[in-house]
Amino acid sequence: MAHAFFGGVHPNDMKAATNEKAIEQLAAPAQVVIPMSMHIGAPCKPIVAVGDKVKIGQRIGEPGGFVSAPIHASVSGTVKAVEPRPSSMGGTVMSVVIDNDFENTVSEEVKPAADPENLTSEELVEIVKNAGIVGQGGATFPTHVKISSGLGKVDYVIINAAECEPYITGDHRACLERPDQVILGATLLAKCFGVDKVYIGIEANKQNAADVLNAKIKELNAPVQVVVLHTRYPQGAEKQLVQAVSGRQVPSGKLPADAGCCIFNLNTTCAIYRAVYTGMPVVNKIVTVSGSGVIEPKNVECPIGTPITALFDACGGLKEETYKLIMGGPMMGLAQHSFDVTVGKGTGAMLAFAGDEEKYEAEPQCIRCGKCVGVCPIRLEPIFMYKYLMKGNYEAFRDQLHGMDCIECGACTYTCPARLPLTHAFRLGKQQVNNARMAAQAKAAAEKAAAEKKEA
């Protein structure tokens, strides 16, 4: 059995609604809206203009820097507009709107690698970079940056199939239905990093998926090992998965590569497989549409840029009592205030709540039970972090209580019987600390410049 990470909670996983439903192909929408920023890092610059004809897989967004990933057309058709549209992160984002011609013409740029079995690390990084692959678990960090920064340092490659967020079943279904993509993708990563074995971390509530993967590993004699982990949130958080699979800890303030580990989401691994073996960049996404507000929950595969209303339409629509819309899982997902957003590279789930999931307390009062301390996977003390923040003491939050190490997993808030808005307060607190640090840096730079001017 694998190691265990610290703390954690056991929310009802709610996966029964969709974990036996095969991934359904969504009828292509008449129009897609593709945001030019679906990754962490510099946004892309659109390289198409209104009226241009585009084909599936054709590059339409050029990376804005090294930490960035190109963006491709997900349907064939005509560019209708290039303009800011509502973003799932709030505000607006430059987007390319494409009217679907339903021809499904695939771009000439899409062609498989000449010799997939014998790629060098550099070649694989180049393919991943051109395919616009990002961490599809939701963090959306450009994968080529992750690989190239880990090369030479990493001796532990882990595929993240934990899928610890309740409701979401896309990775589970992908394991069951596309095990060859998973295993061949993992094999590519093993070769790239030069490791003997790639580990797939999967939670025990997906034992059937682990069995399917194991059968496929045997069949292909692949350098891959499935590690079945306890079902516990946040098993799939990067640092926690490193600890659970390898027994190592990522040093505070560092990346998994500093502990010799590199983690790839299951979907990302499949995307690497597709990019190498078919040449197809990231143009589709598997989305779990679920929650008490959805009439008929499903796993849907749809083009990037599909309006979320099209997803709900495909699932029988929403109940009238729906009061919350979440892009991502219920523990870390982003609540949406409008229906005018579209599926991005990191959208693993669209949830709609119509029941009593939201338990709001108007005037919460901490009872000092300390349960938050027990469940924190980083072993922080949310109770005191919250109290110091409420007093405006950001120094204690940052220094004595290590508040900046908070991964915002929400375990403390989930478990809090007094229903305090803990995670929310920590997000604000971290923001304040970062703002103060940047202000101090700017001030120091200005003073330095002023001093130099004086000398001159």
């Binding site: 309740p166 800890q249 609540a335 949406q336 039970c369 980083i378």
Partner: protein, 335 residues
């Protein structure tokens, strides 16, 4: 199809789901866990035990309501914490208490100890024990007015509790004690004393329920009872069988009630597990010291109150080592 434009959406910060457990459900669990002890008290001391408990609960809830009403604060009696305080206060007293003393004890527990410091979670002393302490200090005679349990009414003459007899520490007294009360009597609760503390069995049942329901963890009760167990084995007076002395020390007095229901009070105990172990050991040490060397026959109440005052210190200096903590030397070497 659904008219999406008409749906009113809430956009709040994640997580978007919460555990079903809340303050009220926790307090309800504590009340359930106290029921065996209360039932035994009613069986052993009669209907007046129930009456005393009801008066205490009503008084505590009233004071909580009245204070927040007068101070124009939001009402929180729905969280049931005042009910728990009322039950605990009554269970730490003799069943023979006049009703007005419970009203005074309830006032001190709820208003002075709890609400003046900000209400639930903000008090630094256990409210029920604070209330009991002021009653002992003010009405020592009435608080010590214990009666015999039902099973011993026709057997035993003296109403002195086993703890009071043990305080004497002489071999003669010890023989009187063991001839009147067997170890089984001590465990089951066929002894005199505060009405909720007599039955170790009923309290252990309640404690097991709380641990299974994850309302409390084992750390404080085990550290506390374990310390008393070991120390009374070591410190048994000359001429008295050490194992027997240990069993009477552990089952007698308020140890079970204190270790399971009082020392585990959230607001007044440390939040980290190592802190809780130290806290439990401290309670155990003080209890044995007071019982053996102090001027009271029982030391549970004051031990816990004293350790309550160290909680902030334990929380401040016993912090968990965080995930991926970078050792100081390394950090400095990196510089």
């Amino acid at each position: 199809m659904t008219d999406y434009k008409n749906l009113k959406l809430i956009a709040s910060s994640s997580p978007h789901i919460r555990s079903n457990e809340n303050t009220r459900s926790i307090m309800l669990d504590v009340i359930i866990a106290l029921l065996p002890a209360l039932a035994w008290a009613i069986y052993s001391f009669g209907f007046k035990a129930l009456l005393t408990t009801v008066i205490s609960v009503v008084a505590c809830v009233f004071w909580e309501w009245a204070y927040r009403k007068v101070m124009k604060k939001n009402q929180m009696i729905g969280d049931l914490s005042a009910v728990v305080t009322g039950m605990l206060l009554a269970l730490t007293c003799t069943a023979n208490l006049p009703w007005w003393m419970l009203v005074i004890g309830g006032f001190f527990a709820i208003v002075v100890v709890k609400q003046l410091y900000g209400g639930i979670g903000c008090n630094f002393l256990n409210p029920a024990l604070g209330g009991r302490a002021i009653l002992v200090a003010s009405y020592a005679g009435l608080m010590g007015n214990y009666s015999l349990p039902k099973a011993k009414l026709d057997v035993v003459v003296s109403t002195a509790t086993p703890m009071q007899i043990m305080k004497e520490g002489t071999v003669e007294q010890w023989e009187i004690l063991t001839s009147n009360y067997s170890v089984g009597d001590m465990f089951l609760g066929n002894i005199g004393g505060a009405m909720g503390e007599v039955s170790a069995l009923a309290l252990l049942l309640g404690g097991a329920y709380l641990i299974i329901r994850k309302v409390i963890s084992w750390h404080i009760p085990v550290a506390y009872i374990g310390t008393v167990l070991v120390l009374s084995l070591v410190a048994a007076p000359a001429g008295i069988d050490a194992v027997q002395y240990m069993l009477y020390s552990v089952f007698g007095g308020g140890l079970m009630l204190g270790a399971i229901f009082m020392a585990t009070d959230y607001a007044t105990s440390p939040v980290t597990k190592p802190g809780q172990l130290i806290y439990g050991i401290g309670c155990g040490l003080l209890t044995v010291f007071i019982r053996r060397f102090g001027s009271f026959p029982e030391g549970v109440c004051y031990s816990i109150l004293i350790m309550n005052c160290t909680t902030w210190l334990l929380d401040k200096y016993i912090r968990p080592t965080i995930y991926g903590a970078v050792k100081k030397e390394k950090k400095e070497a990196a510089k």
